[in-house]
């Protein structure tokens, strides 16, 4: 990653557009839709580092987001921490937990790891459902007074939006930085052939644990802000199967292993979802549509959108990572 490459500035431009677009005419509706797109982009880019680079499907990627949300909301309500330290603490805690878990579980290869990530989703959900201090199944509520330090609810919503766009930008730069580093090359090698990578001297176990932990930080931070915004958190929302699925669909839709793909896929998916939600016939079939879309992509277009673009215009490969 270097400021001399055009892709660096493309990311900067995307962030600027996200930050500026809703300010024109104080467009709250556009802001809400872009906020969701930014969250999707954050989840998808971080999942992409696991799935697209290292070739490990993380079915439990929503655990990072949900746990981050819980830790942040808990620190805000029970310990009365200010928002930013609470969100940062949530990110760091979840990242450390992921590192510990990763060091243990990533000794497992391929399919076994996928099973473990499905298991962790069920287990964490069960844990939070039973954990008294976090309100069990009813969850935690935040009083609206907590919006006061940010200048009242109206101003606070804008602040959270800008913070989430910032996190989205950081996610894109992180994906880009990892991809163009030696670490990223090692991950891509693991994704293609783990044995060969190990023989060539890639410390596969350490790299896998590191990328697992790195891909936990920003989603946890985003989760903290997201649930601060909704002012309450419940296990059903925090560990929603739908969200976790959508991140996988997005990565496959955009093209696994590409930074642009994860971002474009997230934006397109958000638009599609918004359209489906407003249409009465489709709103209850969201999961079905996400599933059918994923199946079609896996069967007929495993390279995703970016795979198609690269095939059509091979020279773009050098500009869009």
């Amino acid at each position: 990653m270097s400021p001399r490459r055009p892709f660096f500035w493309i990311i900067a431009l995307v962030i600027a557009v996200f930050a500026a677009a809703p300010l024109v005419g104080d467009n709250v509706q556009l802001r809400e839709s872009l906020l969701l797109a930014a969250v999707y982009m954050t989840l998808a880019s971080n999942l992409n580092m696991m799935m697209g680079y290292a070739g490990y499907v993380n079915f439990g990627n929503i655990v990072f987001f949900g746990l981050g949300g819980y830790i942040c909301v808990y620190l805000l309500s029970a310990a009365a921490w200010p928002l930013l330290p609470a969100a940062l603490a949530a990110g760091i805690c979840v990242s450390l937990l992921a590192l510990l878990f990763g060091l243990g579980v990533l000794r497992l290869r391929g399919a076994y790891f996928a099973l473990a990530t499905i298991g962790i989703n069920e287990a964490v959900k069960a844990f939070v459902n039973n954990f008294g201090p976090w309100g069990g199944a009813t969850g935690l509520y935040l009083s609206t007074e907590l919006f006061a330090p940010l200048g009242g609810p109206r101003q606070a919503l804008w602040t959270i939006y800008f913070l989430l766009v910032g996190i989205m930008g950081l996610s894109l730069y992180l994906s880009y930085a990892v991809k163009s580093s030696k670490f990223g090359l090692g991950l891509l090698a693991i994704g293609q052939n783990e044995d060969a990578a190990a023989v060539l001297g890639v410390p596969t176990r350490r790299y896998k644990a590191l990328v697992y932990s790195a891909s936990a930080f920003l989603p946890a931070l985003a989760g903290g802000l997201y649930f601060f915004k909704s002012a309450f958190i419940q296990p059903v929302d925090a560990f929603d199967l739908q969200f976790s699925t959508e991140a996988i669909v997005i990565v496959m839709l955009g093209g696994q292993g590409t930074v642009t793909g994860a971002a474009v896929g997230a934006y397109l998916y958000e638009e599609l979802r918004g359209w489906l939600l407003t249409s009465e016939t489709f709103s209850s079939f969201q999961l079905v549509i996400a599933g059918a879309l994923l199946l079609l992509i896996v069967l007929f277009m495993p390279g995703g959108l970016m795979g198609w673009v690269y095939e059509r215009w091979p020279r773009l490969k050098r500009v869009l990572e």
Partner: protein, 286 residues
């Protein structure tokens, strides 16, 4: 003391049904190295199959099992051609994603049709009393039927030509193809069998506990735990693994609320995977 023993025995009875479900998962993995993520959805499909046969058509609960098994086999063969066939020999990521997507479609349709309401199948069977504790008749019946089905599967795999073909493909697909076995058809049959086992065990579970459309996730996790206990790809191991899981659950029930079981299961899962990556029963081979 009697209470704990009764709880363990009951756990083992129920655990054997989990073992049956896991046999379906492990059979598919053993034959084609695919983890079938529609497993949970198929367990739920079996539950609803039983529910509609008994409530809408008035079929007695246990007479509804053969149709569930047959339909499950047909659905499984269809699923193989739809979502799995093109993934054979590709990276495991692809078959995981394709079966996962089918799982989403099924769960999505289920929740759209029935929401997440609790369903229940009433089965009345006399139980067995022992020192003031009663083992429900349904639990005993489920364990007996599991033993019967596992026995039938054994006879099929070891005593029939087709079953031997399944084992041959599982051992070495190229060699099986060379001696004239139509391996692709055998793969689709094996996938169908795996799904049929998931459906029928789902139907058996429905006679024991109430269920929702989303119940699949929890039972799928149990199957994962059982398969790693028994070693992936080993149907006999799966049955023993199921009994072992039932034993652990039975031992835990008197001491903590049932809602903690997924956590215990998951910890067991991780511990086994880390200590014995090949499964407890694979130790002999290495």
């Amino acid at each position: 003391m009697y209470g704990i023993i009764a709880s363990i025995v009951d756990g083992v009875l129920v655990g054997s049904v989990y073992g049956l479900a896991a046999m379906g998962l492990t059979l598919i993995w053993g034959v084609m190295n695919v983890i079938n993520l529609t497993h949970g959805a198929m367990i739920v499909a079996g539950m609803f199959g039983l529910y509609f046969l008994t409530s809408a058509l008035g079929v007695p609960a246990y007479a509804a099992l053969p149709p569930v098994l047959v339909v499950g086999l047909a659905v499984g063969v269809g699923l193989y051609w739809l979502a799995v066939h093109r993934m054979i020999g590709r990276p495991p990521l692809m078959s995981l994603l394709s079966t996962f997507s089918v799982n989403l479609v099924i769960i999505g349709l289920g929740t759209a049709a029935w929401g997440t309401v609790l369903f229940n199948v009433e089965v009345t069977l006399p139980g067995l009393s022992w020192h003031g504790y009663t083992f429900p008749g349904t639990h005993i019946m489920a364990a007996l039927l599991t033993a019967l089905l596992a026995g039938l599967l054994y006879v099929f795999l070891y005593r029939t030509r087709l079953g031997k073909a399944v084992r041959a493909v599982s051992g070495n697909r190229e060699a099986a193809e060379l001696v004239g076995i139509p391996t692709t058809r055998v793969l689709s049959l094996a996938f169908g069998l795996g799904v049929a086992l998931a459906c029928v065990s789902g139907a058996l579970i429905a006679t024991l506990f109430p269920f929702t459309v989303l119940a699949g996730g929890a039972y799928q996790l149990k199957s994962f735990v059982v398969t790693v206990l028994g070693g992936l790809g080993n149907p006999a191991g799966a049955l023993i693994g199921g009994i072992a899981l039932g034993l652990v659950e039975g031992l835990a029930t008197p001491f903590m609320p049932v809602s903690w079981t997924p956590i215990i299961e998951f910890l067991l899962f991780i511990a086994v995977l880390i200590a014995f990556p090949g499964g407890l029963l694979m130790l002999r081979r290495s």
